[in-house]
């Protein structure tokens, strides 16, 4: 039982940052914007969150700082793609390169610093349940926040007027504009939400997952979050499945390395990346219709007048 509990626990901690970042990107892409800078926003959240947590001694302030760092990064992106109608793919790449560099500078004084992982929250009664009660209901607060966010985003996108406007803007920005919706404002809010989620995901990595700061510690997780959005066919609920699938693969390969299966460690380490490619390929073989990208994804919007 102990080993299964341990594996389940590590899968949850591996999946949570992926889930947080993927939910944010679902909202961004549903508004018709492709932000490839998730990796850059995430790692800025990790560096800033850890730095502030060390300086203030407060995990909460660290998490907040990570969130705002992600938002600040996404604001830069918004200025380029909304304000100046710049190419979204290239702007996202710029954001990633810039974030990887700037996080190195921000985190430089804190390399080697250590602190306790964030305290766990044991839900009363539920965490006393036999078997997995303690693992499932005794997690750090961000695990629950991630689930709550997934649920909230799924409901808002699917069931509310605000969600309808978001989808309209992403599917056909000219019609949405003609109906009197402010396309760029909707997209700005979506981008900022995506930045906040990515920053939160980064803060989770440096404050809970490791918990310390090393340069480049996101190790492609931002990109995997982008793949999860495709996997989830732009639905927040399915992003939960995607995040736990990818979290599971990355944890199982770590355990497999520990057992020494005679497979080269590098082959196992490549598994999450190969899984991404294989899953994207498998999705493309499914019948069309159920998994379609928002029609205006990646297109700049310029009102005629």
């Amino acid at each position: 039982m102990m080993i299964f509990e341990a594996i389940l626990l590590t899968i949850i901690t591996a999946a949570t940052p992926l889930l947080l970042a993927a939910i944010g990107e679902v909202v961004v892409e549903r508004s018709g914007v492709l932000n490839l800078g998730v990796e850059g926003m995430m790692i800025m959240g990790a560096a800033t969150g850890f730095a502030v947590a060390i300086l203030t001694g407060s995990s909460l302030l660290g998490v907040m700082a990570g969130l705002f760092a992600g938002m600040a990064m996404s604001l830069l992106f918004a200025a380029l793609v909304l304000g100046l109608a710049a190419n979204q793919v290239a702007s996202g790449l710029a954001l990633t390169i810039f974030g990887l560099g700037l996080s190195g500078l921000v985190g430089f004084p804190f390399v080697g610093a250590k602190r306790e992982a964030m305290a766990h929250l044991y839900l009363p009664y539920l965490s006393d349940l036999p078997f997995f009660g303690r693992v499932i209901f005794g997690q750090d607060p961000l695990v629950y926040i991630a689930f709550a966010l997934a649920l909230a985003v799924a409901l808002i996108i699917g069931r509310t007027r605000a969600g309808l406007v978001l989808r309209a803007v992403g599917e056909n920005h000219h019609s949405a504009h003609a109906l009197g919706h402010n396309v760029r404002q909707v997209r700005l809010l979506a981008i900022l939400f995506g930045g906040a989620c990515a920053g939160l995901a980064g803060a989770y990595l440096s404050l809970v997952y490791t918990p310390f700061w090393t340069p480049g510690m996101t190790a492609g997780r931002g990109w995997i979050a982008l793949a999860i959005v495709v996997f989830a066919s732009w639905r927040a609920g399915r992003a939960v499945i995607g995040a736990y699938l990818f979290g599971g693969v990355s944890i199982l390969q770590l355990h497999a390395q520990g057992f020494g299966l005679g497979v080269p460690a590098q082959a196992l380490a490549a598994l999450p990346y190969l899984t991404t490619i294989i899953v994207l390929f498998a999705l493309s073989r499914l019948p069309r219709g159920s998994s379609r990208a928002p029609a205006c994804l990646g297109q700049p919007f310029l009102p005629a007048r």
Partner: protein, 358 residues
């Protein structure tokens, strides 16, 4: 009052020249601001970054060594980006080119072959890079899988494969357990062309590639097809061009050039296979391609400028104890400004009053 963008009817010639220069100037200004923020005299820092690599002959040769792979890779990326194929995995294609070429060197090591080996290595590097570039291309053209994600994921896979090879089967048995391959024999090395031995024929191969790509893009039907598919995909389809085959073509071309850059690095300046053979050339080349406005001659100039930041970054690490990340910050800033300034070519910024008849 608000700012609006208005599409220009004609792109001005002055603007397409002025915008990259403006981007560089803005990067320098913001770089200076950044330095003063972290408590380093900005002028001294910028001198180390951008002037020290030009100070003497040795430094200039080093500049050609760093510029060659950047320019080679960016030359391949330009036709990709012009035709809306987003290959961002050139770093992986570079690594696979180096691996494929090194396989030739390692298999023939110490058997007394002639200098034709190095030519075989270059050919293997080109083929290895092209083959690896074709993976995301086939996935996109045949199955509609996003090439952005697959090409990037393959970078991690290539890095891990290289790591496995130099720690496992290809490790030098006499290498004191260091994770490197055997040092290549003379027959498997690009000869040094100067007293310091830094300048190598790869530089001239790069110049040849600039000329060939410039000719292809400006003077051939293929070049026209690349532009047309990028700018008017519907018109291209009506014109009988096959955009799927073009995807395969541009990915193979850019993979080949990135692979060539990889094997040139290994057979030239490095001399054997190591766990890390590139300081991120494949990613920086994306910035080179955009700063050069996806034009081969522009890329030639832009490649030298970004090579400066690599050498300047190394110098600053020694002289000012700055982490190498400053280089990345510079590069990211530069790409931001390049993209922002490109808007000025395509659009006119206009201040309009709210409510006034437009």
């Amino acid at each position: 009052m608000r700012l609006t963008l208005e599409r220009r009817t004609q792109a001005g010639m002055w603007a397409s020249l002025a915008s990259p220069i403006l981007a560089v100037v803005l990067t320098l200004v913001f770089g200076a601001l950044l330095f003063s923020l972290i408590g380093i005299p900005p002028l001294a820092a910028l001198t180390v970054y951008f002037l020290s690599p030009l100070a003497d002959l040795w430094a200039l040769e080093e500049l050609t060594v760093k510029a060659a792979p950047l320019i080679l890779i960016a030359l391949g990326l330009a036709p990709c980006y012009l035709s809306n194929n987003w290959n961002i995995g050139a770093e992986g294609q570079l690594v696979m080119g180096a691996v494929a070429g090194s396989a030739v060197a390692i298999a023939t090591h110490g058997q007394g072959h002639g200098s034709y080996i190095v030519w075989l290595m270059l050919a293997a590097g080109v083929l290895g890079g092209a083959a690896y570039g074709l993976i995301p291309a086939v996935l996109k053209a045949r199955f509609g899988v996003s090439e952005i994600l697959t090409s990037l994921m393959l970078v991690y896979v290539a890095d891990l494969l290289l790591d496995y090879l130099v720690r496992g089967p290809w490790r030098d048995p006499k290498g004191f357990n260091f994770p490197t391959s055997v040092s290549f024999g003379l027959e498997a090395r690009l000869p040094g062309l100067s007293e310091t031995g830094r300048l190598h024929p790869g530089f001239f191969l790069m110049l040849l590639a600039v000329a060939l790509l410039a000719f292809m893009l400006a003077r051939t039907l293929k070049g026209f097809e690349i532009r047309l598919v990028g700018e008017a995909p519907r018109a291209a389809r009506f014109g009988g061009f096959d955009d799927k085959r073009l995807t395969l073509f541009v990915f193979a071309l850019s993979g080949a050039l990135a692979g060539l850059a990889g094997i040139i690095e290994v057979a030239g300046p490095i001399g054997n296979l190591q766990p890390t053979i590139s300081p991120g050339y494949g990613f920086t080349a994306i910035i080179v391609a955009f700063l050069g406005r996806l034009n081969p001659f522009g890329i030639l100039i832009a490649g030298f400028f970004l090579a400066l930041t690599f050498i300047g970054g190394e110098n600053a690490q020694i002289a000012l104890r700055l982490p190498l990340d400053v280089t990345r910050v510079f590069q990211g800033l530069l790409l931001f400004f390049v993209l922002a300034c490109d808007t000025l070519i395509l659009y006119r910024l206009r201040v309009t009053r709210e409510g006034a008849p437009a």
